[in-house]
C-alpha cells in the first residue's frame, strides 16, 4: 500500500465529526485532569479508559490520546499558579513558572507554556509519523530472541530511570513480572498461583491492576492527609506572552522538542527527565542563564517543550514494537487490547488504516490543544475550586464502575482495591509504580519469547545472542545498568 493509499485509508476512518469530537473531548478532559493537582494525566487516562469500551477503536484511542496530550499540558497550569505540578512532568516548569506568577506574570508564563507545548507536540507527532513506520518495517525481521532482548532492555531502563533508585525500580519490575505469572501456563496449561479460583485462571485483569495502582493510592493518600492538596492560586496578571517572547525562546523550544522526541522514543524514560534535561540545556546555553530559577520565560519554554516533545514520541515504540514508552502509553496499550488490536510491527500491515487515522488525529490534536489550552488558562480558577474531598469519592465510584465494566466481574473490583493498597505501600516506600505496571504488561511477552527461543534452539541459551540485533540490545542493557549505577554513585545518593 502506498503512502497516499494509507493516508486515504486513515482519513476514511477519522474523516468524520465524531472522531474529531472525541479527540477534542479527550483534550478537554486531559487539560482538566492534568490541571487538578493530585489527579494526574495518568489517572485521567486510566479513568477515561472504561468509557472507550463501547466506542469504535479509533474513536476510543483518539479520546485517550487527547487526554494524554491535554493532561501533559494541563499539569503546567497548577505548576505555575500554585507551585504544585499537576503531573510529574511539569515539575521543571515550577522552577521559573512560579517565580513569574509571583511577579504577576502568570498569564505570560502560561501563554509561553502553551505555545511551547503545542510546538513540541507538533514536532513530536511529525517524528512519530516519520520514524514509527520505518522502525516497524525494521522490527518485522525480529524473532523471539530479538524481542526477548528488546523487552529486557526496556524493563531495565524503565526500572532504572522511573524512580530515584535502580534497585527499588528493579524490585518493582520484578513484582510486576511475578504478578504476570498468575493464571494458566502458556505451554502446559497448568495453574500458576490461581489458588483454585476460576477468576484467576486468565490472569489478573490488566485494567483492574492499572487503575488500582494509579488511581486508588491517591484516594488512600487523601484518607491519610485530607488537607495535603490545599494551596494558594496566583492571579493571571496583566502581561501576556508576545510573539517576541516566543521567538526569543524559539531555539530552546526546538532543542527541548528534539530532546523530548529522542528521550520519548526510548521506552521507559518518560516526560519528567526530558523536561529537566531540556531545562538544564537551555540554562547552559542561554544568554540569561543567571535569571534561570528566578522567573526566566525561556526556562518555562524549555521545560514545557521537553515534556510535551515526549508525548508523540512515546508512541513510536508502542506502535512500532508493541512496547509501551511510559505508563500512559501502557494504559493506551490496554485500549488497543480491549478492542482486539495488538500494537507492533504487524499492525502496520494489518491495521494500516487505524495507524494513519491516529497520525492524522495526532496532527489535528496539536491545533486543538492550542484552542483548549487558551480557554483552560482562563478557566483554571474554576478547576482549582473543585473540592478535592468530593472529587476523590467520585473517582472511587468511577473506578468501581469502570473496572467492573471490563468483564462484568465483581472479582476485578476486589483486585483493584488490593492493587490500590499495594500501590499505596509502594508510594509510601518510594518504590516507583511505573516499572510494576509495564513489567506486568510485558511479563507474558518476555516469558513467551524466552520459551519460544528455547524451543527454537533446543534449550540452547546462545540463541539469545544470535545476531547483531540481539547484541545491540544486550549492549544497550549493559550500558544502561552501568550508566545508571555510575550516575547514582557519583551523586552519592542511593545506589539503589
Amino acid at each position: 500500500m502506498s503512502l497516499m493509499d494509507s493516508l486515504a485509508a486513515g482519513l476514511s476512518l477519522v474523516g468524520n465529526v465524531e472522531a474529531f469530537f472525541m479527540l477534542f473531548c479527550g483534550l478537554v478532559i486531559g487539560v482538566i485532569g492534568g490541571a487538578i493537582p493530585g489527579l494526574s494525566a495518568t489517572m485521567a487516562v486510566a479513568l477515561t479508559l472504561p468509557f472507550t469500551f463501547s466506542m469504535t477503536p479509533i474513536n476510543g484511542i483518539l479520546l485517550l490520546l487527547g487526554v494524554y496530550k491535554g493532561g501533559i499540558f494541563g499539569g503546567s497550569i497548577p505548576a505555575i499558579l500554585i507551585k504544585t505540578p499537576g503531573t510529574p512532568a511539569s515539575s521543571a516548569t515550577i522552577l521559573d513558572g512560579h517565580p513569574m506568577a509571583e511577579r504577576g506574570e502568570a498569564g505570560r508564563a502560561l501563554g509561553m507554556a502553551l505555545y511551547a507545548s503545542c510546538t513540541a507536540d507538533l514536532m513530536s507527532n511529525l517524528a512519530l509519523i516519520l520514524f514509527a513506520g520505518w522502525l516497524a518495517s525494521f522490527a518485522l525481521s525480529f524473532g523471539p530472541p530479538e524481542f526477548f532482548a528488546l523487552i529486557l532492555f526496556s524493563l531495565t531502563i524503565i526500572a532504572g530511570v522511573s524512580g530515584e533508585s535502580l534497585l527499588r525500580g528493579a524490585l518493582s519490575a520484578l513484582a510486576g513480572l511475578l504478578l504476570a505469572t498468575v493464571g494458566l501456563d502458556l505451554v502446559y496449561g497448568t495453574n500458576r498461583f490461581t489458588f483454585g479460583d476460576p477468576n484467576m485462571m486468565g490472569g489478573l485483569n490488566f485494567i483492574a491492576v492499572l487503575i488500582g495502582l494509579f488511581a486508588i493510592p491517591e484516594i488512600i493518600a487523601m484518607a491519610w492527609n485530607p488537607v495535603a492538596h490545599l494551596g494558594r492560586t496566583r492571579a493571571l496578571g496583566k502581561t501576556r506572552c508576545t510573539l517576541a517572547d516566543y521567538w526569543g525562546s524559539f531555539k530552546s523550544i526546538i532543542r527541548g522538542s528534539m530532546i523530548g522526541v529522542f528521550l520519548g522514543s526510548i521506552p521507559g524514560i518518560g516526560a519528567a527527565p526530558s523536561a529537566f534535561l531540556s531545562y538544564s540545556e537551555a540554562r547552559r546555553t542561554s544568554k540569561n542563564k543567571e535569571n534561570f530559577g528566578k522567573g526566566e520565560i525561556e526556562g518555562v519554554a524549555a521545560s514545557e517543550a521537553g515534556n510535551n516533545g515526549v508525548a508523540g514520541a512515546t508512541l513510536i515504540p508502542l506502535l512500532a514494537l508493541g512496547v509501551p514508552g511510559d505508563v500512559i502509553t501502557a494504559i493506551i496499550i490496554g485500549a488497543f487490547m480491549v478492542h482486539g488490536l495488538q500494537p507492533g510491527p504487524m499492525m502496520f500491515i494489518i491495521n494500516v488504516d487505524i495507524i494513519y487515522g491516529l497520525f492524522i488525529g495526532l496532527i489535528v490534536s496539536s491545533v486543538f490543544l492550542l484552542v483548549v489550552g487558551s480557554v483552560a488558562i482562563r478557566g483554571f480558577k474554576y478547576v482549582a475550586d473543585v473540592p478535592k474531598r468530593l472529587l476523590m469519592p467520585a473517582v472511587l465510584v468511577l473506578c468501581i464502575y469502570g473496572v467492573y465494566a471490563v468483564n462484568n466481574n465483581i472479582f476485578d473490583v476486589g483486585v483493584m482495591f488490593a492493587m490500590g493498597w499495594v500501590g499505596y505501600l509502594m508510594m509510601r516506600n518510594r518504590i516507583p509504580a511505573a516499572p510494576f505496571l509495564i513489567a506486568f504488561i510485558l511479563g507474558p511477552l518476555l516469558e513467551d519469547n524466552f520459551r519460544q527461543s528455547m524451543l527454537m534452539s533446543g534449550s540452547d541459551p546462545s540463541v539469545l545472542f544470535r545476531g547483531p540485533i540481539t547484541w545491540f540490545f544486550w549492549l544497550l542493557t549493559c550500558v544502561t545498568v552501568f550508566a545508571i549505577t555510575r550516575s547514582t554513585l557519583r551523586k552519592k545518593v542511593p545506589l539503589s
Binding site: 534497585l167 502446559y188 484518607a223 485530607p226 468501581i400
Partner: protein, 165 residues
C-alpha cells in the same frame, strides 16, 4: 525514616518474600507436569528465576543500606507521622469501606453501594461541603449507571432490593 532504614526494610521484605515464594508458594501453587523434558520450559522455571533475582535485589538493597553513603531523610514522612493516630484510623476506615463495598455490590447493587460509599468517603475525608456531598453521592452513581447500563450495555449489578430501569 532515613533512606538507610528504608533500604534495609525493603531489602529484608524482598528476601523474605523471595524465600516464601521459592520454598512454599511455587512448590505448592504452581503445578508442573511430571513429564517436562526441558527444564527451562517448565511452568515453575520462570517463577523460580524471578524469585531468585528478587532475592538478589533484596540482598543488594540490604548491602547498600550498610555499605553505601545513604544519608537522605524522608522529611515528608516525618511530618506526616507527627499527626498522631488519626491518619491510621482513617486508613483503617477506608479499608473497611472497601471491604463493605465488596460485600454490598452483589447484595445492594452497584448504584446503592456506590452512593453509600461516596457519602462514607466524603465524610471520612472531612469534606467542607456536606450537602453537596449528599447531592453528588446520588447524582454521580446514577449518571454512571445511565452511561454504563444504557450506552455501554454493561450488566450493572442491581442487587436484591431496589432495581433501577
Amino acid at each position: 525514616m532515613t533512606t538507610k532504614s528504608l533500604h534495609l526494610r525493603i531489602g529484608l521484605a524482598a528476601v523474605l518474600g523471595a524465600a516464601i515464594l521459592a520454598l512454599y508458594a511455587i512448590p505448592t501453587f504452581v503445578f508442573s507436569p511430571s513429564n517436562v523434558n526441558i527444564i527451562v520450559l517448565a511452568p515453575t522455571f520462570w517463577p523460580y528465576v524471578l524469585s531468585g533475582i528478587t532475592a538478589l535485589v533484596g540482598l543488594g538493597l540490604i548491602a547498600t543500606s550498610f555499605f553505601s553513603d545513604l544519608s537522605g531523610f524522608d522529611t515528608e514522612d516525618t511530618i506526616e507521622l507527627s499527626e498522631g493516630p488519626a491518619p491510621w484510623l482513617r486508613l483503617v476506615a477506608l479499608a473497611v469501606i472497601m471491604a463493605l463495598i465488596m460485600f454490598g455490590l452483589p447484595r445492594l447493587g452497584m448504584v446503592w453501594t456506590c452512593m453509600l460509599a461516596f457519602v462514607a468517603c466524603a465524610f471520612l475525608f472531612r469534606t467542607r461541603h456536606p450537602y453537596m456531598a449528599l447531592v453528588c453521592a446520588v447524582v454521580v452513581p446514577l449518571l454512571l449507571y445511565a452511561f454504563f447500563a444504557h450506552v455501554a450495555g454493561v450488566a450493572v449489578p442491581q442487587g436484591n432490593f431496589v432495581r433501577l430501569p
